[in-house]
């Protein structure tokens, strides 16, 4: 009896922990097309990191290597010398995904807002996934491309709206003068 409880406790804990991670991963758009098996494989290659409150995750201007997914805790995304807070991210949110494709410097800094647990998915991992499991790699890459295309579309729409506003403003100023 005692042994049964012991084993069941161990397994229950394990399953609970796994479910937590998979539910977090499933919320990340780039992993949404993955099957349960593929997700388990990806989970194996992810890097698990823990941070203390106010610990720097990365600094603006440093070369980016990949993205982070928040398992628990919160992250401040800060910009410039004044460290203006652009966003506060929490469980299930992710950031830094552009660095999966681009070797460019980080555009903002990330700081732990509370004791933090994160999963890191980095460019070398994505590349090696594309080499060894191309189907899984392709699914992630396609989602990543869709996400970036969507952002580009949004940016274009915003850009157009801004242009229109600017044109209206110019018209108004012309009328006044």
């Amino acid at each position: 009896m005692g042994e049964d409880t012991l084993w069941s406790n161990i397994f229950k804990k394990e399953i609970k922990k796994d479910e937590n991670i998979y539910s977090v991963l499933k919320r990340v758009p780039i992993f949404q097309d993955l099957s349960w098996r593929e997700l388990r494989y990806v989970e194996r290659i992810l890097h698990r990191r823990t941070y203390k409150e106010n610990e720097i995750i990365f600094n603006e201007g440093e070369p980016g290597v990949g993205m982070y997914i928040i398992e628990s805790g919160s992250v401040y995304i800060k910009l410039g010398r004044a460290q203006k807070v652009l966003a506060v991210l929490s469980k299930g949110d992710f950031f830094g995904e552009m660095a999966l494709l681009l070797d460019s410097p980080r555009t903002a800094s990330a700081v732990a807002g509370s004791p933090l647990k994160m999963l890191g998915f980095f460019q070398p991992d994505l590349f090696s996934l594309m080499e060894t499991r191309p189907q899984t790699g392709n699914k992630i890459l396609r989602r990543l491309a869709q996400m970036i295309a969507e952002r580009l579309r949004q940016t274009s729409l915003e850009n157009n709206a801004m242009k229109q506003k600017l044109a209206q403003y110019e018209e108004k100023t012309e009328k006044v003068t």
Binding site: H47, I57, E62, P63, G64, V65, Q123, S128, R133
Partner: protein, 345 residues
């Protein structure tokens, strides 16, 4: 005052740690050699495993298949190459003590005496010296394997370590990365990735270059009917990693063997010609295709590290010196580069 005192203490502790580490690595050098060899072999085989994985195979399965194929290949090679190789080594020593080479050596001694009169042929003992040097070579050829604990343990441990490096290499890398503090984590990951890329192409390039040159030398020497062609070919392939001196050593060894075995001057010329052609092919065709130009080691540096490798670890040290120096160069250059990009130095 305090800070400078603290710095001195830190420096002394750092130096002590370095000395202890140096002593530790030196005292476990035999085990370290096994590890380095296994690591290099695993590194060379890695793309094969990945390409099988790409075709939908599980990693363990892929590693097993590669091991079986290589096992069959090595067993075949041992069955074909080792008996003649042992024979060759035996006949070298036997040939040296036989009458024909004795006559050749005395002829050479008189010729030397004619050219340089102040040399006394009685004190030269050319044959004795060459026999001694060659038996030393024979011994050290065996000591390559023999010195590392024992042949059996080495033959078991190396494949065993290669198997696990290939199967669990990624998990090992991940485990090492997980121990790195957050501040240096991204930098280290970047560093490992960049080093991996450069090192992989460098080591595979060196390996294939040595393989192709060794193979070409064996064929050329076999066509030219040079005795011990397999042994010299293998040596020429490995020596080729050392610029300038390496290829020359291979050629000179072959010419000396032709000379000792009483070959004609024409045969010697043909052997020299063959090595010149192989070198030309190496420089024009093989090297530009397989050897990564990213790891450019200065010839002087290579020669010194080869000597140092030889001093500490014998012939095996000489052979491992070039790839290990290449590895260190990539690691140091990339570390400096990364630290600069992350504003650490």
């Amino acid at each position: 005052m305090d800070t400078s005192g603290g710095k001195t203490v830190k420096l002394i502790i750092g130096l002590l740690v370095l000395v202890v580490l140096g002593w530790f690595f030196y005292s476990i050098s035999e085990t370290l050699t096994i590890l380095i060899i296994s690591f290099l072999v695993a590194y060379i085989l890695e793309p094969l495993v990945s390409s099988l994985e790409y075709r939908g195979m599980a990693r363990t399965q892929a590693v097993l298949i590669i091991f079986v194929v290589i096992g069959i290949f090595v067993a075949g090679l041992i069955a074909i190459v080792i008996p003649p190789l042992v024979n060759e080594l035996k006949t070298i020593e036997h040939g040296l003590s036989s009458g024909s080479s004795a006559a050749y050596f005395s002829k050479m001694e008189t010729w030397l005496h004619d050219q340089i009169p102040f040399i006394d042929p009685n004190t030269m003992h050319l044959q004795e010296k060459v026999t001694h040097a060659l038996s030393g070579l024979t011994q050290s050829m065996f000591s390559i394997i023999g010195s590392v604990v024992s042949i059996v343990t080495t033959l078991i441990i190396i494949p065993f370590a290669v198997f696990f490096f290939l199967k669990d290499g990624r998990d090992m890398k991940k485990a090492i990365v997980s121990m790195i503090p957050n501040r240096y984590f991204e930098m280290s990951l970047n560093l490992i990735h960049k080093t991996d890329e450069q090192l992989g192409s460098y080591l595979r390039g060196q390996f294939f270059d040595a393989l192709i040159i060794g193979f070409l030398s064996i064929i050329a020497l076999w066509i030219l009917n040079v005795p011990y062609f397999i042994l010299i070919g293998v040596f020429a392939g490995l020596a080729n990693m050392i610029p300038y001196v390496g290829p020359l050593t291979g050629a000179v060894t072959a010419i000396i063997v032709v000379m000792i075995s009483g070959g004609s001057g024409q045969q010697m010329l043909l052997v020299a010609g063959a090595f010149a052609v192989i070198q030309l092919m190496d420089n024009v065709l093989v090297q530009p295709l397989v050897v990564a130009k990213t790891v450019n080691l200065h010839p002087l540096l290579i020669i010194f590290v080869v000597i140092i490798g030889g001093q500490f670890f014998g012939i095996l040290g000489m052979l491992l010196a070039v790839p290990v120096t290449g590895m260190l160069k990539v690691l140091i250059a990339e570390s400096m580069n990364s630290m600069r990009r992350y504003n650490i130095v």
